[in-house]
């Protein structure tokens, strides 16, 4: 069976992408707001739960502290998940590109 976090939700997707550089929780939210052009603004509980969940599955890990805040970064497992998701999305995008008339059933 597929992993229970797959396919990645929008929240999980953005967090993994943001954590390709080391960041603490609040900075993750700020970065996501920016890279999503303001369309994804994570709330505190959602971010907390997602970080806990991703950490539990070993897709991100704490790499240090900035003041009292924990700094997280994506792991190699997390990167492998992103690669898988990228291939899945690229395939879906390719279906968008393909014109209907070429379909042979």
């Amino acid at each position: 069976m597929k992993h229970k976090l797959l396919p990645l939700s929008e929240t999980m997707h953005y967090i993994l992408l943001a954590l390709r550089e080391p960041l603490h929780g609040y900075a993750v939210m700020q970065k996501i707001e920016k890279i999503s052009n303001g369309s994804v603004i994570l709330a505190a509980g959602t971010l907390y739960g997602a970080i806990e969940n991703l950490h539990k599955h070993g897709w991100i890990e704490p790499v240090g502290e900035s003041g009292r805040r924990k700094v997280y970064m994506i792991t190699s497992e997390g990167n492998a998940i992103l690669k898988m998701e990228q291939n899945r999305l690229l395939h879906i995008l390719s279906l968008y590109e393909r014109s209907e008339s070429n379909e042979k059933i």
Partner: protein
């Protein structure tokens, strides 16, 4: 301990809307408010048991978002207050909201089953009325004894009644949970 976390949240927010801000919640559930010209919102969160370190991370992250910790216990419920602006929710997606209701369901089910077990132990060896021979008494004697015993029966039924309340809140959380899952 709480029976209906959402009703409690609604009640608190109604008070805050009248121009108050909550300053303290005592362990016995006594709320202290003070008047304010600003608008505040209160959100209740329920987390599974948090270790000291996890609680620190949890609290720190919410505080970064502008939430002020009013009260709570590392065992579960947490009260968060914040000045009213555009970011008034603690959950921003369907998945995290449904996980929240899932945690509430586990909480209600855990307490409910524990209380059911306790009331089973209470009623198992003695039945509802304790007094021997109550049911063989006649006339006014029966009614006097019956009325005398009834408050004790109610007292002994408290765990069972609480279990029923927890059953109701389990059902409410389950309804919300399944609505979120369906979509």
């Amino acid at each position: 301990m709480f029976f209906d976390i959402e009703k409690q949240e609604q009640w608190l927010n109604k008070q805050l809307h009248k121009g108050y801000r909550c300053t303290h919640i005592s362990g016995l559930g006594i709320y202290t408010f003070e008047e304010t010209d600003k608008r505040y919102v209160m959100r209740m969160d329920y987390q599974d048991y948090l270790s000291k370190q996890k609680f620190k991370d949890y609290k720190g992250l919410y505080e970064d978002f502008g939430w002020v910790y009013i009260a709570g216990s590392r065992l579960g419920g947490h009260y968060w207050q914040k000045e009213d602006d555009n970011q008034n929710e603690i959950f921003s997606d369907r998945q995290s909201r449904s996980n929240y209701y899932k945690r509430l369901m586990n909480y209600s089910a855990g307490f409910g089953l524990m209380l059911l077990f306790i009331s089973y132990l209470i009623f198992n060896d003695s039945g509802l009325y304790l007094a021997d021979g109550l049911w063989s008494m006649e006339g006014t004697l029966f009614w006097k004894a019956f009325l005398f015993e009834t408050p004790f029966v109610l007292l002994r039924s408290i765990p069972f009644l609480m279990a029923v309340f927890f059953g109701c809140s389990f059902y409410k959380a389950f309804r919300k949970y399944s609505t979120l899952r369906e979509g």
